[in-house]
C-alpha cells in the first residue's frame, strides 16, 4: 500500500531519541518526532515563545538559518505594547544572529513572504506559531501551525512531536468559470465539509483543476486548510511548483507526490466548473454560498489583502475591476499588498495608481484588519467583505460587526457597488 504526501514528507524527517535523523516509512496514527526545516514565529506569538525558550535553559537556537521571525501582525507598531513585543523579537534575533528576521521595511505578511523569498522548499517540514502556516502545503511542504510553546521547543531543539495525520484527498475537475479562483474553491470546499470536517487530518488538493491553478491560487487554498480544522493542506509537486521555486529556493530539496495507491480517510470529488464566486457569511468560514445570494448585504468596508489573498495575482484581479471606476461613497476599500516586492511590482504595473484613483486606501504590508488589529477595524453594526480567512464574531473589530469572506474579484466589485456583488454586475 502506498503513502500519502503527508506520510512521505513526515517519513523523511523522523528523528530518534537524541534528535538524530532516522528516516523511515510512517503510517497515519503513529506518534513520531520529526526535524523541522523552518521554525517560524511572528510579533504576537514570539513573545511567549521567547519567554518559554528562556525557561528551557537553552542558550542558542538549534540553527540560526532555520528560525524565521517576522513582524507582521501588529507591525508597523500598532501601540506601545506592540512596539515592545516587536523590540523583544528584534533583540532576540540580533542576539541569536538569525539570518531571517524581517522587520518593517523588509517584512511582509509571513505566509506571503516566505514562499516569495524561497525560504520554504518542496518536501520541507515547517512548523510555525501561526495557524496559517499550513499555507506552505501548496509548495509540497508539510507545514503546520502550533502554539508558541511548541515553537519555543522547536527553536531550541529543531524537533517537534507529531501524530501522523490521516488524509482527505479532494479532487477538483473542470475548468474554472469567470472570476472564480482558489479562494472560491476553498470556500466552497469548507462549505461542503465544515469547520471541523478535516479535524486532525491533512488535506490534499488534487485533480486537473489544481494542475492548472497558478501557485497564488494554490497558496490561497492551502492557507485555509486550517479553517476546516486541517493539520495541513498539501499539493503534489509538479511543473507549476518547479517553475515557482526556480530562482527562489537556493538549496537542494526533495520533492514528493502522493502514491496512486495511498490510503485515504476519504476522497472527495468536486466539479469545479459549476462553482460560482463564493461568499462565506458570518460567523463561520463554512457558511459559504454563491455571492449571488448575498446581493442584499450592504457593506461599510472592503479589505483586499492578507496571507490568503494579498499576492500580485490577487491585486491584478482587483485592479481589473476597480480601474477607471469609483469606490462607493459609503465604503472604505483598503488594499494591502502582502510584501514589499508585491507592492513594488503592483506600483510598476500601475495597479496602485488604479486603486488610489478609484478611491481605495493602499497600505504597507501588514496583517492589520484581518484580526481586528489595526488598519481597518470595524465599529458596532458595521459589515465588511474581506479577502481574509476568518469571520468569527468580533474577528475584525466590535463583536457586533460582521465579516463576509470572499475572493478579490467579489471584494472589488462589492467596493464599487456598496453591497456584496459579483464582477459581472460591474463590468457590463
Amino acid at each position: 500500500m502506498g503513502h500519502t504526501l503527508a506520510e512521505k514528507i513526515i517519513a523523511a524527517h523522523v528523528v530518534g531519541e537524541n534528535g538524530q535523523a532516522t528516516p523511515r516509512p510512517v503510517r497515519a496514527g503513529e506518534l513520531v518526532e520529526v526535524s523541522a526545516d523552518v521554525v517560524l514565529a511572528n510579533d504576537i506569538t514570539a513573545p511567549i515563545s521567547l519567554r518559554e525558550f528562556e525557561r528551557l535553559g537553552v542558550e542558542r537556537v538549534f540553527d540560526p538559518d532555520k528560525v524565521v521571525l517576522v513582524a507582521d501582525h501588529f507591525a508597523p507598531n500598532k501601540d506601545i505594547k506592540s512596539a515592545e513585543q516587536c523590540a523583544q523579537m528584534r533583540r532576540f534575533a540580533r542576539a541569536q544572529g538569525l539570518t531571517h528576521h524581517y522587520d518593517v521595511g523588509q517584512m511582509g505578511i509571513e505566509h506571503a513572504l516566505l514562499p516569495e523569498q524561497g525560504l520554504v522548499a518542496p518536501g520541507d517540514l515547517v512548523v510555525g506559531a501561526d495557524s496559517h502556516t499550513c499555507t506552505y502545503g501548496a509548495l509540497g511542504a508539510f507545514a503546520t501551525g502550533m502554539g508558541s510553546t511548541d515553537i519555543a521547543v522547536a527553536m531550541a531543539t529543531g524537533v517537534v512531536w507529531l501524530r501522523v495525520p490521516e488524509t482527505i484527498r479532494v479532487v477538483y475537475h473542470g475548468e474554472l468559470g469567470p472570476w472564480v479562483g482558489g479562494k472560491d474553491l476553498i470556500l466552497y470546499t469548507i462549505g461542503q465539509i465544515g469547520v471541523s470536517g478535516a479535524l486532525y487530518k491533512a488535506l490534499e488538493f488534487a485533480g486537473p483543476t489544481i494542475s492548472t491553478l497558478p501557485m497564488a491560487g494554490r497558496l490561497t487554498m492551502s492557507n485555509m486548510a486550517i479553517e476546516a480544522g486541517g493539520k495541513a493542506g498539501l499539493v503534489d509537486f509538479d511543473g507549476v511548483t518547479a517553475a515557482y521555486v526556480d530562482g527562489r529556493v537556493r538549496r537542494p530539496f526533495q520533492p514528493y507526490q502522493a502514491d496512486e495507491d495511498a490510503a485515504y480517510a476519504q476522497v472527495i470529488e468536486i466539479d469545479a466548473a459549476q462553482i460560482e464566486p463564493q461568499v462565506a457569511f458570518p460567523h463561520l468560514p463554512e457558511n459559504a454560498r454563491p455571492a449571488s445570494q448575498a446581493a442584499h448585504v450592504k457593506i461599510d468596508q472592503s479589505v483586499i489583502g492578507s496571507c490568503t489573498n494579498g499576492r500580485l495575482e490577487d491585486l491584478r484581479v482587483a485592479a481589473e475591476i476597480l480601474r477607471g471606476r469609483k469606490v462607493h461613497p459609503d465604503v472604505r476599500c483598503i488594499i494591502i499588498p502582502g510584501t514589499q516586492q508585491i507592492y513594488l511590482e503592483a506600483l510598476r504595473e500601475g495597479l496602485i495608481e488604479a486603486f488610489i484613483e478609484a478611491g481605495a486606501a493602499v497600505s504597507t504590508p501588514t496583517c492589520g484588519p484581518c484580526l481586528g488589529g489595526h488598519m481597518g477595524v470595524l465599529a458596532a453594526g458595521e459589515r465588511a467583505v474581506s479577502t481574509t480567512n476568518r469571520n468569527f464574531r468580533g474577528r475584525m473589530g466590535h463583536p457586533d460587526s460582521e465579516v463576509y469572506l470572499a475572493g478579490p474579484a467579489v471584494a472589488a466589485a462589492s467596493a464599487l457597488i456598496g453591497r456584496i456583488a459579483e464582477p459581472k454586475e460591474v463590468l457590463q
Binding site: 537524541n18 506518534l31 504576537i44 506569538t45 513573545p47 511567549i48 519567554r51 518559554e52 525557561r55 528551557l56 535553559g57 537553552v58 501582525h73 501588529f74 500598532k78 501601540d79 505594547k81 506592540s82 513585543q85 506559531a129 501561526d130 495557524s131 501551525g145 502550533m146 502554539g147 508558541s148 510553546t149 511548541d150 519555543a152 521547543v153 531550541a156 531543539t157 512531536w161 469547520v195 471541523s196 479535524l199 486532525y200 486550517i226 480544522g229 493539520k231 463561520l284 484580526l371 481586528g372 488589529g373 476568518r390 468569527f392 464574531r393 468580533g394 474577528r395 463583536p399
Partner: protein
C-alpha cells in the same frame, strides 16, 4: 490527577478569538489576559469565574487562531480543566503544553449544565456530575501526552529530557 469544580458551559466552535480577542494580543502574561477571557461571548465570565472552575464546550473547542494566549487566559482566570465534545488540534496541543488539563467526552458535555459541579479524573478518564450523580467513562489522555501534563507542561518535560541526554 482529580479535579472538582463548577461548570461554565459553551457551545460548538468556540474559537480562540472568542476565548481571547486579538486586541489583547499585545500582552502575553496569564494574569494580563485573564480579565479579558471570553469577553466577547460572555461578558460575565471574567468577573465571576473562580479558581478551580471547569469550562465545558461542544465540538471543535478552541478552533481558529493558534494563539497560545487562549489556554493561558483560561489558566490565568483559574480554570482547572476544559472538557469538550472535541478539541481543535492546535488548542489541544497548546493546552497540554501549558499544562491546562483537557478531556474529550461528548455525553458528559451534553448532560451537564452551567453551575453543575463536575469531578474529572484525568488518569482514569472518568467524569462525574455531582448534581445528576451520573458518571462518564472516556478515553484518558494518551500516556505520552499525560507525561507532559504531569511534568507541568512541555517546557519542564523537555528540560528533563535535555538534562538526561
Amino acid at each position: 490527577m482529580k479535579l472538582t469544580g463548577q461548570v461554565w458551559k459553551y457551545g460548538d466552535n468556540v474559537d480562540t478569538d472568542a476565548i481571547i480577542p486579538a486586541r489583547y494580543l499585545n500582552m502575553s502574561l496569564p494574569e494580563e489576559l485573564a480579565p479579558h477571557c471570553m469577553e466577547d461571548i460572555d461578558a460575565s465570565f471574567a468577573a465571576l469565574v473562580q479558581a478551580g472552575d471547569i469550562v465545558i464546550g461542544g465540538e471543535n473547542f478552541g478552533c481558529g487562531s493558534s494563539r497560545e494566549h487562549a489556554p493561558l487566559a483560561l489558566k490565568g482566570a483559574g480554570v482547572a480543566c476544559v472538557v469538550a465534545k472535541s478539541f481543535a488540534r492546535i488548542f489541544y496541543r497548546s493546552a497540554i503544553n501549558t499544562a491546562l488539563p483537557i478531556l474529550e467526552c461528548s455525553q458528559a458535555v451534553q448532560e451537564t449544565e452551567k453551575g453543575d459541579t463536575l469531578t474529572v479524573d484525568l488518569q482514569a478518564g472518568l467524569i462525574t456530575n455531582a448534581r445528576t450523580g451520573r458518571s462518564y467513562q472516556t478515553a484518558p489522555l494518551p500516556e505520552f501526552v499525560m507525561k507532559i501534563v504531569q511534568a507541568g507542561g512541555l517546557v519542564p518535560y523537555t528540560r528533563e529530557r535535555l538534562q538526561a541526554r
